[in-house]
């Protein structure tokens, strides 16, 4: 039962996180491309409850911009006006699900104050907003690539396992080729084949298909194993005896037994592909500016000066860790569950 509970928890967290990412426009206080050239590399904005005179505010507030010409020391911060944090504020317009336009953001502060929860980058763009919008690119890429891999896996593994013979031989030998290579080299080799100067959306789609194409071998192997044992089960043999066609047997009796493996594989592959996207983009081979993928957020860390002076640029990288923990927990629970539940 404990695996069941673990699965429910991790699935709930993943669903909540996906919602935040899906409605990034609402949860992010700024647009991902909105620049503020006056505040490059601003540290995360401190949120205060108590002002300099020691008075407690019910509503948390941030301090407004200082006159950059004076750059007052901390003691003079008292003279800077507080801007209270407000909920459901109007701001830059964004689209919900690509259709409805809205201007309401979950939180924000009045101009000219800024709220940078995770600091800002070289162009004064809000890292927090970029992280949320970036999740749309990175998670979507991971999800689609995982589904693509698993789909090819079903096709290849199902055919190999069900029909066997020379088809099985060819498909599994081909799969070995993909399993034998270090996957990052393979990913690079395939990326090298793609044109470098094409539109960002094309890069995104190509990246997904490249990643999805590479990873088919492992799910195919697992599915082949399940199909091999499934097709010999008594009820399948009985259905065959009643004259069921191959297509019917596969659809109704054999493939449903692979669903548990499929789901586990998808949960395992998504973080792997998200990481692949992050790595490729980090190295300058993925989606580029102004698209804010997670890899693009990290790529500024390649400059030593950024890495040594602005620690908050490292925050997006750290945020990936808890996300991956949840993904792995979900995959782990799924694996344990379908091990204990007889198929």
């Amino acid at each position: 039962m404990t695996h069941h509970r673990k699965l429910v928890w991790s699935a709930a967290v993943l669903a909540a996180f996906s919602c935040v990412i899906l409605f990034a426009g609402f949860f992010a206080p700024y647009d991902f491309a909105a620049q503020d050239r006056d505040t490059p590399f601003a540290p995360p904005t401190a949120i205060h409850f108590m002002d300099a005179s020691g008075r407690l505010h019910v509503r948390p507030f941030v301090y407004g911009p200082r006159d950059s010409a004076q750059t007052p020391p901390i003691a003079e911060a008292a003279s800077v006006q507080p801007y209270p944090l407000r909920w459901f504020v109007p701001g830059a317009p964004y689209k919900i699900a690509g259709v409805f336009t809205s201007r309401t953001h979950l939180f924000g502060v009045a101009q000219p104050a800024r709220i940078f929860l995770m600091g800002s980058d070289a162009y004064g763009r809000d890292q927090f907003s970029r992280f949320l919008y970036g999740g749309q690119i990175s998670l979507l890429a991971g999800l689609i690539a995982a589904i693509l891999s698993v789909s090819i896996g079903i096709l290849a593994g199902g055919i190999a396992g069900y029909y066997g013979g020379w088809l099985d031989e060819i498909l599994m030998r081909g799969g070995e080729l993909f399993l034998a290579l270090p996957w990052l080299y393979l990913l690079f080799a395939m990326r090298a084949a793609l044109p470098l100067h094409i539109s960002q959306w094309q890069v995104f789609l190509l990246l997904i298909s490249v990643m999805g194409l590479i990873g088919w071998a492992r799910p195919a192997r697992l599915i082949r194993g399940v199909v091999l044992s499934a097709k010999e089960r008594n009820f399948v043999l009985a259905a065959r005896g009643f004259g069921a066609s191959d297509a019917y047997l596969l659809r109704r009796h054999v493939l449903p037994q692979t669903y548990a493996v499929l789901l586990t594989q998808i949960t395992l592959l998504v973080p792997q592909y998200v990481l692949a996207e992050v790595t490729l983009t980090f190295l300058g081979l993925g989606v580029g500016e102004p698209m804010p993928s997670w890899g693009a957020l990290l790529s500024s860390l390649q400059q030593y000066s950024v890495l040594s002076s602005y620690w908050w640029m490292f925050l997006p990288a750290l945020l990936l860790i808890p996300l991956f923990v949840v993904f792995y927990a979900a995959a782990d629970a799924l694996q344990e569950l379908h091990k204990s539940v007889p198929l």
């Binding site: 034998a180 270090p182 080299y185 081979l285 860390l301 040594s308 990288a317």
Partner: protein, 323 residues
């Protein structure tokens, strides 16, 4: 011997398959190294065409592949467009550096994983086993890239370690001891990154392989005979558990090579990784193919070593062919 010959033949076929595959996908690419030149109004279309035919880029795929195979047997692996030299010497230096880094890391990772895995298996269920499990699973969830960036951050912030390269500027003037020390300080961070990235799964596998053996009846019999626990672990259980671990050794090379690619770029180790990334950006086809082939050769060689070890340690494989 037939077993090993079979494995060797299998590896050669695999390498051929990889070369055709990587060649074919590079062939699919629109544009080549000279495409940027043809956009340049200063360079006539004729010059570009001459350059293309000079490098054989105007030939159809099978002929280019055949040329490339010839170059493999000549030992130069084709020509790098960007450097204007044969690929082989270019790769050789990088391969040496990558081999130094990955070889050392692989050795260290296994030397740490085996005792640690045995220890946690022997103490299964105790708090030290649980603590070890927490450490390995948390290391497992840290993405490689984040780990390497954190190491770079350490190097940049503390200044204790060099932030890249393989040797300091005046390396040639140092004494032997000084050279070793200089190399070691440069090696430390990339090596640490690789070991940390590959260690957790290894420890887990060693642990689970040992636990499986420790539950076997013959171990209980050995305990009943009053044989000391240490002797049971090392002399009775470990050789039996070694079998799946040797297979894992082959696979761990693949993981090591992929991680090494990234660590080399992030921590500027002059290995195959940075060369490959530059070659991809420049569409320097033969360098890309060469680097991919090189990694496959490392991998296949590692798997062959694993096969030979299995042959040496597992009597079942040797008797199989007699029957």
């Amino acid at each position: 011997m037939r077993y090993l010959a079979q494995r060797l033949l299998h590896s050669i076929l695999l390498l051929l398959g990889v070369s055709i595959f990587s060649f074919a996908i590079l062939q699919l690419a629109p544009g080549d190294f000279f495409t940027p030149l043809s956009v340049n109004p200063q360079i006539s279309a004729h010059t570009v065409a001459t350059l293309r035919s000079q490098y054989g880029l105007d030939k159809p795929f099978p002929i280019r592949y055949e040329h490339w195979l010839h170059s493999v047997f000549r030992g130069d692996l084709g020509v790098s467009f960007a450097y204007g030299t044969p690929v082989a010497p270019l790769l050789a230096v990088r391969a040496r550096n990558t081999l130094l880094l990955t070889g050392l890391s692989l050795f260290l990772a296994w030397m740490l994983a085996i005792p640690f895995g045995i220890w946690t298996a022997a103490r299964r269920g105790k708090w030290s086993d649980r603590a070890g499990g927490i450490v390995t699973s948390s290391l497992l969830t840290i993405p490689d890239l984040v780990l390497f960036l954190a190491l770079l951050l350490v190097a940049v912030r503390t200044g204790w370690f060099p932030t890249g390269g393989m040797m300091s500027p005046g390396f040639d003037d140092l004494s032997i001891g000084g050279k070793v020390q200089d190399l070691a300080t440069h090696l430390f961070l990339p090596c640490l990154g690789l070991v940390l990235a590959t260690l957790p799964p290894l420890v887990r596998h060693v642990r689970s392989a040992m636990i499986e053996v420790l539950e076997a009846p013959f171990v209980r019999a050995a305990r009943a005979h009053g044989i000391p626990e240490r002797r049971i672990l090392l002399r009775y259980a470990l050789p039996v558990a070694a079998n799946p671990l040797i297979t894992l050794f082959g696979y761990s090379i693949a993981g090591m090579l992929s991680a090494s690619l990234l660590v080399e770029v992030v921590l500027s180790w002059p290995g195959v990784g940075p060369l490959l990334v530059d070659a991809i950006l420049a569409k320097d086809v033969y360098v890309v193919v060469g680097a991919v082939m090189l990694s496959s050769v490392f991998l296949v060689a590692g798997n062959l070593v694993a096969d030979a070890l299995l042959f040496a340690t597992d009597p079942r494989i040797r008797t199989e062919q007699i029957n």
